[in-house]
Protein backbone atom coordinates (compact mmCIF):
# COMPACT_ATOMS: atom_id res chain seq x y z
CA UNK A 1 0.00 0.00 0.00
CA UNK A 2 1.34 3.37 -1.01
CA UNK A 3 0.06 6.94 -0.52
CA UNK A 4 -0.35 8.74 -3.83
CA UNK A 5 -0.71 12.53 -3.74
CA UNK A 6 -1.79 14.93 -6.48
CA UNK A 7 -1.27 18.68 -6.63
CA UNK A 8 -2.47 21.66 -8.70
CA UNK A 9 -4.13 20.69 -12.03
CA UNK A 10 -3.23 17.03 -11.56
CA UNK A 11 -5.35 17.07 -8.37
CA UNK A 12 -8.18 18.84 -10.24
CA UNK A 13 -8.15 16.41 -13.17
CA UNK A 14 -8.12 13.32 -11.01
CA UNK A 15 -10.59 14.86 -8.58
CA UNK A 16 -8.91 14.09 -5.28
CA UNK A 17 -5.83 15.24 -3.34
CA UNK A 18 -4.58 11.83 -2.17
CA UNK A 19 -5.46 8.17 -2.08
CA UNK A 20 -4.04 4.87 -0.96
CA UNK A 21 -3.12 2.57 -3.82
CA UNK A 22 -2.55 -1.17 -3.67
CA UNK A 23 0.24 -1.77 -6.15
CA UNK A 24 3.04 -4.11 -7.12
CA UNK A 25 4.69 -1.50 -9.35
CA UNK A 26 8.48 -1.54 -9.10
CA UNK A 27 8.97 1.93 -10.54
CA UNK A 28 7.11 5.23 -10.79
CA UNK A 29 6.56 4.57 -14.51
CA UNK A 30 4.86 1.23 -13.72
CA UNK A 31 2.63 2.94 -11.15
CA UNK A 32 1.68 5.53 -13.78
CA UNK A 33 0.71 2.71 -16.20
CA UNK A 34 -1.52 1.13 -13.52
CA UNK A 35 -3.19 4.47 -12.77
CA UNK A 36 -3.68 5.28 -16.48
CA UNK A 37 -5.49 1.99 -16.98
CA UNK A 38 -7.98 2.77 -14.20
CA UNK A 39 -10.23 5.48 -15.63
CA UNK A 40 -10.38 8.21 -18.24
CA UNK A 41 -9.59 10.98 -15.69
CA UNK A 42 -6.31 9.26 -14.80
CA UNK A 43 -5.43 8.68 -18.45
CA UNK A 44 -6.07 12.37 -19.06
CA UNK A 45 -3.98 13.55 -16.10
CA UNK A 46 -1.06 11.31 -17.12
CA UNK A 47 -1.35 11.80 -20.89
CA UNK A 48 1.85 13.88 -21.15
CA UNK A 49 4.56 12.93 -18.67
CA UNK A 50 6.85 15.73 -19.86
CA UNK A 51 4.32 18.12 -18.26
CA UNK A 52 4.59 16.32 -14.92
CA UNK A 53 7.06 16.07 -12.07
CA UNK A 54 7.24 13.34 -9.45
CA UNK A 55 8.48 13.11 -5.87
CA UNK A 56 9.06 9.85 -3.99
CA UNK A 57 8.97 10.24 -0.20
CA UNK A 58 9.12 14.02 -0.68
CA UNK A 59 12.26 14.05 -2.80
CA UNK A 60 12.08 15.16 -6.42
CA UNK A 61 13.02 12.29 -8.73
CA UNK A 62 12.22 10.92 -12.21
CA UNK A 63 9.80 8.40 -13.66
CA UNK A 64 12.42 5.62 -13.73
CA UNK A 65 12.79 5.83 -9.94
CA UNK A 66 12.32 2.67 -7.89
CA UNK A 67 9.37 2.37 -5.50
CA UNK A 68 11.16 -0.12 -3.26
CA UNK A 69 10.33 0.82 0.32
CA UNK A 70 8.50 3.99 -0.80
CA UNK A 71 5.63 5.21 1.36
CA UNK A 72 4.54 8.29 -0.59
CA UNK A 73 4.51 9.26 -4.27
CA UNK A 74 3.39 12.69 -5.44
CA UNK A 75 2.54 13.88 -8.97
CA UNK A 76 2.39 17.56 -9.89
CA UNK A 77 3.12 20.08 -12.65
CA UNK A 78 6.42 22.01 -12.75
CA UNK A 79 6.63 24.17 -9.64
CA UNK A 80 5.99 27.91 -9.59
CA UNK A 81 7.30 29.21 -6.28
CA UNK A 82 8.73 32.60 -5.42
Amino acid sequence: MIDVLYFAWVRERIGLPREQVETTAATVAELVEELRAREERYALAFSDLTALRVAVDQDLTDFDASLKGAREVAFFPPMTGG
Binding site: L5, F7, A8, W9, R11, A55, Q58, D59, L60, A74, F76, P77, P78, M79, T80, G81, G82
Partner: protein, 147 residues
Protein backbone atom coordinates in the same frame (compact mmCIF):
# COMPACT_ATOMS: atom_id res chain seq x y z
CA UNK B 1 18.98 29.60 9.29
CA UNK B 2 15.22 29.99 9.52
CA UNK B 3 12.62 28.52 7.15
CA UNK B 4 8.98 29.52 7.59
CA UNK B 5 5.99 28.29 5.57
CA UNK B 6 2.77 29.97 6.67
CA UNK B 7 -0.63 31.12 5.45
CA UNK B 8 -0.79 34.46 7.30
CA UNK B 9 0.98 37.64 6.15
CA UNK B 10 4.43 38.46 7.55
CA UNK B 11 5.81 41.84 8.63
CA UNK B 12 8.62 42.56 6.16
CA UNK B 13 10.11 45.39 8.23
CA UNK B 14 10.02 43.49 11.51
CA UNK B 15 11.47 40.35 9.89
CA UNK B 16 14.28 42.29 8.18
CA UNK B 17 15.13 44.17 11.38
CA UNK B 18 15.12 41.03 13.50
CA UNK B 19 17.31 39.28 10.91
CA UNK B 20 19.82 42.16 10.91
CA UNK B 21 19.84 42.71 14.67
CA UNK B 22 22.72 41.88 17.00
CA UNK B 23 25.38 41.28 14.36
CA UNK B 24 28.74 42.98 14.27
CA UNK B 25 30.50 40.74 11.74
CA UNK B 26 28.05 40.96 8.84
CA UNK B 27 28.69 43.92 6.55
CA UNK B 28 25.87 43.11 4.13
CA UNK B 29 22.19 42.19 4.53
CA UNK B 30 20.23 41.55 1.32
CA UNK B 31 16.45 41.07 1.32
CA UNK B 32 14.19 40.16 -1.58
CA UNK B 33 10.39 40.27 -1.41
CA UNK B 34 7.99 38.67 -3.91
CA UNK B 35 4.68 40.50 -4.37
CA UNK B 36 1.40 39.45 -6.05
CA UNK B 37 1.41 41.41 -9.30
CA UNK B 38 -1.74 42.66 -11.00
CA UNK B 39 -1.97 42.83 -14.79
CA UNK B 40 -3.89 45.85 -16.20
CA UNK B 41 -4.69 43.78 -19.33
CA UNK B 42 -6.11 40.93 -17.28
CA UNK B 43 -7.12 42.15 -13.80
CA UNK B 44 -6.34 39.67 -11.04
CA UNK B 45 -8.84 39.19 -8.25
CA UNK B 46 -6.84 36.71 -6.24
CA UNK B 47 -3.80 34.47 -6.35
CA UNK B 48 -4.16 31.05 -4.74
CA UNK B 49 -0.94 29.29 -3.75
CA UNK B 50 -0.99 25.56 -3.12
CA UNK B 51 1.95 23.69 -1.61
CA UNK B 52 3.06 20.23 -0.51
CA UNK B 53 3.26 20.30 3.31
CA UNK B 54 6.35 18.45 4.48
CA UNK B 55 8.15 18.44 1.17
CA UNK B 56 8.02 22.26 1.01
CA UNK B 57 9.99 22.66 4.23
CA UNK B 58 12.46 19.94 3.20
CA UNK B 59 13.03 21.50 -0.22
CA UNK B 60 13.54 24.99 1.23
CA UNK B 61 15.97 23.68 3.84
CA UNK B 62 17.93 21.85 1.16
CA UNK B 63 18.17 25.00 -1.00
CA UNK B 64 19.20 27.19 1.96
CA UNK B 65 21.77 24.64 3.14
CA UNK B 66 23.28 24.51 -0.35
CA UNK B 67 23.49 28.33 -0.42
CA UNK B 68 25.35 28.30 2.91
CA UNK B 69 27.79 25.75 1.52
CA UNK B 70 28.51 27.86 -1.57
CA UNK B 71 28.82 31.35 -0.09
CA UNK B 72 30.27 32.79 3.09
CA UNK B 73 26.96 33.52 4.79
CA UNK B 74 26.27 34.40 8.40
CA UNK B 75 22.60 33.52 8.13
CA UNK B 76 19.69 32.79 5.77
CA UNK B 77 15.97 33.47 6.19
CA UNK B 78 13.20 32.18 3.90
CA UNK B 79 9.51 32.95 4.50
CA UNK B 80 6.97 31.68 1.95
CA UNK B 81 3.19 31.95 2.21
CA UNK B 82 0.45 29.75 0.80
CA UNK B 83 -3.33 30.20 0.47
CA UNK B 84 -5.29 33.10 -1.07
CA UNK B 85 -3.60 36.48 -1.66
CA UNK B 86 -4.69 39.76 -3.24
CA UNK B 87 -2.65 41.89 -5.65
CA UNK B 88 -0.04 43.87 -3.71
CA UNK B 89 0.26 41.30 -0.93
CA UNK B 90 3.69 39.95 -0.11
CA UNK B 91 4.06 36.28 -1.07
CA UNK B 92 7.53 35.52 0.21
CA UNK B 93 10.88 36.91 1.29
CA UNK B 94 14.47 35.77 1.48
CA UNK B 95 17.22 37.46 3.47
CA UNK B 96 20.93 36.73 3.45
CA UNK B 97 23.65 38.06 5.75
CA UNK B 98 27.31 37.98 4.76
CA UNK B 99 30.50 39.84 5.64
CA UNK B 100 30.54 41.29 2.09
CA UNK B 101 27.75 42.23 -0.32
CA UNK B 102 28.76 40.04 -3.28
CA UNK B 103 28.10 36.86 -1.30
CA UNK B 104 24.83 38.23 0.10
CA UNK B 105 23.52 39.29 -3.35
CA UNK B 106 24.57 36.12 -5.16
CA UNK B 107 23.19 33.83 -2.47
CA UNK B 108 19.85 35.70 -2.52
CA UNK B 109 19.65 35.27 -6.31
CA UNK B 110 20.55 31.60 -6.03
CA UNK B 111 17.83 31.10 -3.38
CA UNK B 112 15.27 32.79 -5.61
CA UNK B 113 16.23 30.84 -8.72
CA UNK B 114 15.97 27.50 -6.92
CA UNK B 115 12.88 28.44 -4.96
CA UNK B 116 11.04 29.20 -8.22
CA UNK B 117 11.47 25.76 -9.75
CA UNK B 118 12.47 23.39 -6.93
CA UNK B 119 10.17 24.28 -4.04
CA UNK B 120 6.73 22.61 -4.36
CA UNK B 121 4.45 25.64 -4.71
CA UNK B 122 1.85 26.15 -7.45
CA UNK B 123 0.14 29.43 -8.26
CA UNK B 124 -3.39 29.77 -9.56
CA UNK B 125 -4.62 33.13 -10.82
CA UNK B 126 -8.29 33.95 -10.34
CA UNK B 127 -9.72 36.89 -12.29
CA UNK B 128 -12.99 38.21 -13.66
CA UNK B 129 -12.65 36.00 -16.77
CA UNK B 130 -11.99 32.80 -14.89
CA UNK B 131 -9.00 31.10 -13.38
CA UNK B 132 -5.88 29.26 -14.46
CA UNK B 133 -2.67 27.71 -13.16
CA UNK B 134 0.46 29.74 -13.77
CA UNK B 135 2.73 27.79 -16.13
CA UNK B 136 6.39 27.38 -15.26
CA UNK B 137 8.64 29.33 -17.61
CA UNK B 138 11.52 27.73 -19.51
CA UNK B 139 13.58 30.76 -18.47
CA UNK B 140 13.14 29.82 -14.82
CA UNK B 141 14.49 26.32 -15.46
CA UNK B 142 17.30 27.74 -17.60
CA UNK B 143 18.24 30.14 -14.78
CA UNK B 144 19.43 27.16 -12.72
CA UNK B 145 22.14 26.28 -15.22
CA UNK B 146 24.18 29.38 -14.35
CA UNK B 147 24.81 28.02 -10.85
Amino acid sequence: MRIVVQEQPFDLGAEANAFAANRTDMGAIVTFTGVVRDDPEKPLRQMMIEHYPGMTERALEKIATEARARWALGDVLVIHRYGPMRPGEQIMMVATAAPHRKDAFEAAEYLMDYLKSRAPFWKKEQGADGEGWVAAKDADEDALSRW
